[in-house]
């Protein structure tokens, strides 16, 4: 059974969902790996890694930057070199960006940032601060471009919750161009029909090109600001946005069944099987 290390820093959040529900739902075994363990080399024995959401080190200085300097991140960088998958969600996404593991256009140099939210309409900032709500994202890369969309068709739409104050993807025009050419923009915010707009509220935080998730060049490190682990089971989805849940209402087994983002976690497993 594939083993996933879920890295816990002080201030991590939703790590227990990843450990107890998310990865086990696709037949993988996940373990919590605390940042202060002495046997850090044990980390190398895992097949895959997940950096959960939350507020590592209370977001001090800048979200994700303190955790990005942790010695565990050096090990993750080395394991990523071997092709092992690393998934960063929300704060994990910020950590990967601050560690330079995404987008990795210039080796591990920091060339992307998750800036404070600034949702825009007609060029004016209309929304700042913490946003916690359900939005839609769609796969904008070809199927199999990264481990996170290994089984996901281009254009597939996922309702997902976001919960962050610093989630606005920013990079230079040059880095953006490289990412577009390489197909590293994996997920993009969209409306329910899949239409992408850079305007608030479709693009809730003002991200460049409405980016919601990116990968490194190789496709084995993926950083996503929305929370796919919170849409992995049907019961997690708000009733008013899911016809599937409305149909399943009152049926325990169906309610415990797969949510829309299950495909992303099934993709992790499929990628590992292919790597074997």
């Amino acid at each position: 059974m594939y083993k996933v290390a879920v890295i816990q820093f002080p201030g991590s959040n939703r790590e227990y969902e990843l450990v107890h529900d998310t990865f086990s739902s696709v037949g993988m075994h996940a373990e919590l790996f605390r940042w202060n363990r002495k046997d850090t080399d044990t980390l190398r024995s895992f097949d895959a890694y997940a950096l959960p959401g939350g507020f590592s080190y209370q977001d001090r200085v800048r979200a994700g930057v303190v955790a990005a300097k942790d010695k565990l991140m050096k090990i993750l960088a080395e394991e990523a070199e071997k092709g092992k998958p690393i998934l960063g969600i929300c704060n994990g996404c910020q950590i990967l960006a601050e560690a330079g593991l995404v987008p990795q256009i210039y080796d591990n140099e920091v060339s992307m940032g998750l800036a404070p939210n600034a949702g825009k309409q007609n060029g004016q900032t209309v929304r700042t601060g913490f946003i916690s709500d359900w939005y839609n994202m769609k796969s904008t890369a070809r199927k199999g471009r990264s481990f996170a969309n290994y089984l996901v068709e281009e254009g597939e739409i996922f309702p997902v919750p976001i919960a962050h104050a610093e989630g606005r993807f920013r990079m230079s025009d040059e880095v953006l161009r490289e990412m577009e050419v390489n197909g590293q923009i994996i997920f993009t915010y969209c409306d329910q029909e899949g239409n992408v707009s850079e305007e608030y509220p479709v693009n809730p935080n003002g991200s460049t090109k409405s980016i919601a998730g990116v990968s490194n060049k190789r496709g084995n490190v993926v950083a996503i600001m929305p929370h796919p682990e919170a849409a992995n089971q049907l019961f997690q989805i708000p009733l008013d946005i899911s016809e599937a849940k409305q149909e399943a209402w009152g049926n325990y087994d169906k309610m415990e069944g797969p949510g829309p983002t299950r495909r992303i976690f099934e993709s992790v497993r499929a990628y590992l099987e292919e790597m074997k």
Partner: protein, 154 residues
């Protein structure tokens, strides 16, 4: 135009964490403060300043160009280097502007507000290349090169 400096009266937890993160540098002291530059008509400056600090929480210092007032002793530190970091579209600046113009009713009398986070650094004695070290600290920790600008003064 006035400049307001504020810092916590208690030890700043961000400065403590930053110092721990920068443990490879020979730091004797690392302080964090905020610098607000307020461009406004004279008759609303007092109101703007009072909004930006809480006397129970902060030490503050106001520089009007003709002198200073406030908790001068708390800011009387001889730093080897200061690293000033400004964030693009800083949500706090946007909020402060909106509150002063809208809720406080000062409207166009508030022309602009800018905020920088200032890190005051004192190195251990004998440290050489203070500018280079401070610049490296800024690049390593204090400023993301994509959406934050920084300047180092020694």
């Amino acid at each position: 135009m006035i400049t307001l400096y504020r810092k916590l009266k208690i030890p700043d937890p961000e400065a403590v964490t930053a110092r721990n993160t920068l443990k490879d540098y020979s730091l004797r002291r690392l302080d964090k403060m905020e610098e607000f530059s307020i461009d406004a008509d004279d008759d609303v400056l007092k109101s703007a300043v009072s909004y930006l600090y809480n006397p129970n929480e902060h030490f503050y210092l106001v520089n009007t160009g003709n002198g200073t007032r406030g908790n001068e002793k708390a800011f009387d530190v001889n730093y080897d280097a200061r690293i000033r970091v400004e964030t693009e579209e800083d949500p706090m600046t946007i909020t402060v502007l909106n509150v002063l113009r809208g809720r406080y009713g000062h409207g166009s009398k508030i022309r602009n507000v800018r905020r920088k986070v200032v890190w005051g650094v004192v190195f251990q004695e004998g440290e050489t290349d203070i500018y280079g070290k401070a610049d490296e600290m800024a690049r390593t920790l204090f400023a993301n090169p994509v959406f934050q600008r920084y300047e180092v003064s020694v």
